[in-house]
């Protein structure tokens, strides 16, 4: 059964052209239409864990905002748990949870337990239900010691654990995470990822997350959607993504002797300056080993490094492959 279905969802913003004079612009504003999301169509099954990736301005946040009922779409349809978000927002609010990495829901000056208690009233939980649920969350999230410390004194990682626990109190069926690991250190990141995975597994909660961090996506999700302007341009698994698009490697070398040029099938020279070379290697066409051997024919190597492309490079690759041109834009959050 589908938890989320979206078809042809569109959103255009009217943006006032800032270049006009302030006074003139006040009385006679000129608007430009910007398409943040143009015709998104996809569906997410119950219990699935899906990552939504794309650069800033790709329409991630706008899509999430429409799915949570914050924004009205310009056209198109969407159903979350059988409800149309922007029509039945309050009803839907009871069934979904959300964590926005850069926006805290915890009361800064108070210990987390006060926020939990408040949320139990906001979500109209019965006392016994609340107690049982909190007990479980405290156990799973190891919040025992954190519960009574004012939030301002918690570390970012500890706070994030509390944030996630807070959004789970009312047993939501669908969770929206917007950049849940932003700003965390490696250990805290791993902890948060384990927790999200366990929520998904044990309670069968549908998880919809956006992230900039490839690690989040690779460890957590079986499904990745790459979007641009809210259009899903790739819907695949991280493994496939890796196979298809992470097959590119970047090789940087410094030769002992300078060479005129380097030509090899499947290799693009990104930078060539004196003895230094930066190459992109398509491992579907050639292998790293072949490239290494070809280089060695010219000269001994003084230094070499091989790296995976960054997520941004992968996305760029995907954009190029799918013929989608513009990257980024405004960032309509």
């Amino acid at each position: 059964m589908a938890a989320i279905t979206v078809s042809n969802l569109r959103k255009t913003f009217q943006v006032r052209t800032a270049a006009q004079g302030r006074i003139k612009g006040l009385f006679n504003p000129i608007f430009t239409e910007v398409e943040a999301v143009k015709g998104a169509t996809f569906s997410v099954e119950r219990g699935e864990m899906v990552a939504f990736i794309g650069p800033n301005g790709a329409g991630k946040s706008t899509t999430i905002k429409m799915l949570t009922g914050i924004l009205h779409p310009t056209a198109g349809e969407a159903q979350v748990l059988g409800l149309t978000p922007w029509v039945e927002r309050q009803k839907l609010a009871m069934k979904i949870g959300s964590v926005f990495g850069q926006k805290s829901q915890l009361w800064f000056h108070l210990p987390p337990k006060d926020t939990f208690r408040l949320l139990s009233y906001i979500y109209e939980l019965d006392e016994s239900v609340f107690k049982a649920r909190l007990g479980k969350l405290v156990e799973v999230f190891e919040l025992d010691e954190l519960l009574h410390i004012p939030v301002r004194k918690l570390s970012l990682g500890q706070r994030m654990r509390c944030e996630i626990a807070a959004c789970l109190l009312h047993k939501p069926e669908v969770l929206f995470f917007d950049e849940p690991t932003i700003g965390l250190d490696v250990v805290a990141k791993r902890k948060i990822r384990e927790l999200i995975a366990s929520i998904n597994k044990e309670d069968g909660v549908t998880v919809f997350l956006t992230s900039h961090d490839t690690g989040d996506i690779e460890t957590l999700c079986k499904r990745v959607m790459v979007i641009n302007h809210g259009e899903v341009i790739l819907d695949s698994s991280p493994q496939l993504l890796r196979r298809e698009f992470l097959r590119m490697k970047t090789i940087g070398v410094r030769l002992e002797e300078e060479i005129e040029s380097f030509i090899h099938p499947g290799v693009t020279v990104l930078k060539h300056k004196g003895p230094g070379l930066k190459l992109r290697v398509d491992t579907a066409v050639t292998s790293v080993d072949d490239v290494y051997a070809a280089l060695r024919q010219h000269s001994r190597l003084a230094d070499i490094y091989i790296s995976d492309p960054t997520l941004d490079e992968v996305i760029e690759e995907i954009y190029q492959a799918t013929g989608s041109i513009t990257l980024g834009g405004g960032g309509y959050r």
Partner: protein, 268 residues
């Protein structure tokens, strides 16, 4: 909008309780707020001392009543929580949206926070104010039995304050900076609200203008009832306060709806 149920009431009253607790988390803040209140009360009583000179009363207010009147108006004026900056920021940054994801109504959410925070100041201000007033002119000219009724009028006074403030703050959906509106609003309260002077001493035409507006129901009327209770006046004040509350609530909900529509259409 929420259906008024016990659960909804519990929800918002607990929210008020939480913001109360959050507000008194820093004792130094509480002390400095209360100190400022005491300072203003002191200055105003001194000013009145100079104004009265040798007279023992003015416009039906004795010296003692005047001091307690000031205590009451100042308590309401200086206890009311400064939610405007936060609401404006929420509106501007689009954080309004994050509240929309919860089963809460933005206006009543802010209202609960406003009452919680205001109560946290009011308690201390009334305590210190009463001590100062008692030291200056003796115990208040009122019987304890009327206090619950005064409290009702005071509560409505705070509600009116809230509605006017959130109305002004919501204008941030359309204008760049609502700060200046609040400077003017505080001066309007100062004069038309009767913060320092009971409006009875105003020239007749001005008094009439004042009574026709909601501001004197925030400061003057509750304070007058406090120092000089009268059941008929109480009923009348309560009725007019209720009328203004209904009118302003409708206005606020309407303007909020328009504003949110703007966010929904144009993004945060």
């Amino acid at each position: 909008m929420d259906i008024v149920s016990t659960k909804a009431v519990r929800k918002y009253s607990f929210l008020a309780k939480t913001s109360f607790a959050s507000k008194i988390a820093y004792p130094l803040d509480v002390i400095s707020r209360t100190f400022f209140f005491a300072l203003v009360l002191f200055i105003f009583t001194q000013l009145w001392g100079a104004l009265l000179g040798a007279d023992s009363s003015i416009a039906g207010f004795s010296r003692q009543q005047l001091v307690w009147y000031l205590m009451a108006t100042e308590s309401i004026m200086l206890s009311n929580a400064r939610i405007e900056r936060r609401i404006e920021d929420d509106v501007k940054s689009g954080a309004v949206a994050y509240i929309l994801i919860r089963p809460l109504h933005f206006v009543w959410y802010q209202c609960a926070i406003y009452f919680g925070e205001s109560a946290s100041s009011l308690i201390f201000n009334i305590l210190i104010g009463s001590i100062i007033a008692t030291l200056l002119v003796g115990v208040p000219p009122i019987s304890v039995g009327f206090l619950p009724l005064i409290l009702v009028v005071m509560t409505l006074a705070f509600l009116l304050q809230f509605l006017i403030k959130i109305f002004l703050a919501l204008l941030a959906f359309w204008v760049e900076d609502t700060g200046p509106f609040f400077w003017i609003y505080s001066k309007v309260l100062f004069t038309l609200g009767g913060l320092f002077v009971p409006i009875d001493i105003y020239p007749e035409w001005l008094r009439r203008v004042t009574v026709a507006m909601p501001f004197n129901y925030i400061l003057y009327q509750p304070a007058r009832l406090f120092v000089n209770f009268n059941l008929a006046a109480f009923v009348q004040v309560l009725g007019i306060q209720a009328m203004w509350s209904v009118l302003l609530t409708a206005l606020v909900l309407y303007i909020y709806k328009q504003g949110v529509k703007k966010v929904s259409v144009n993004g945060g």
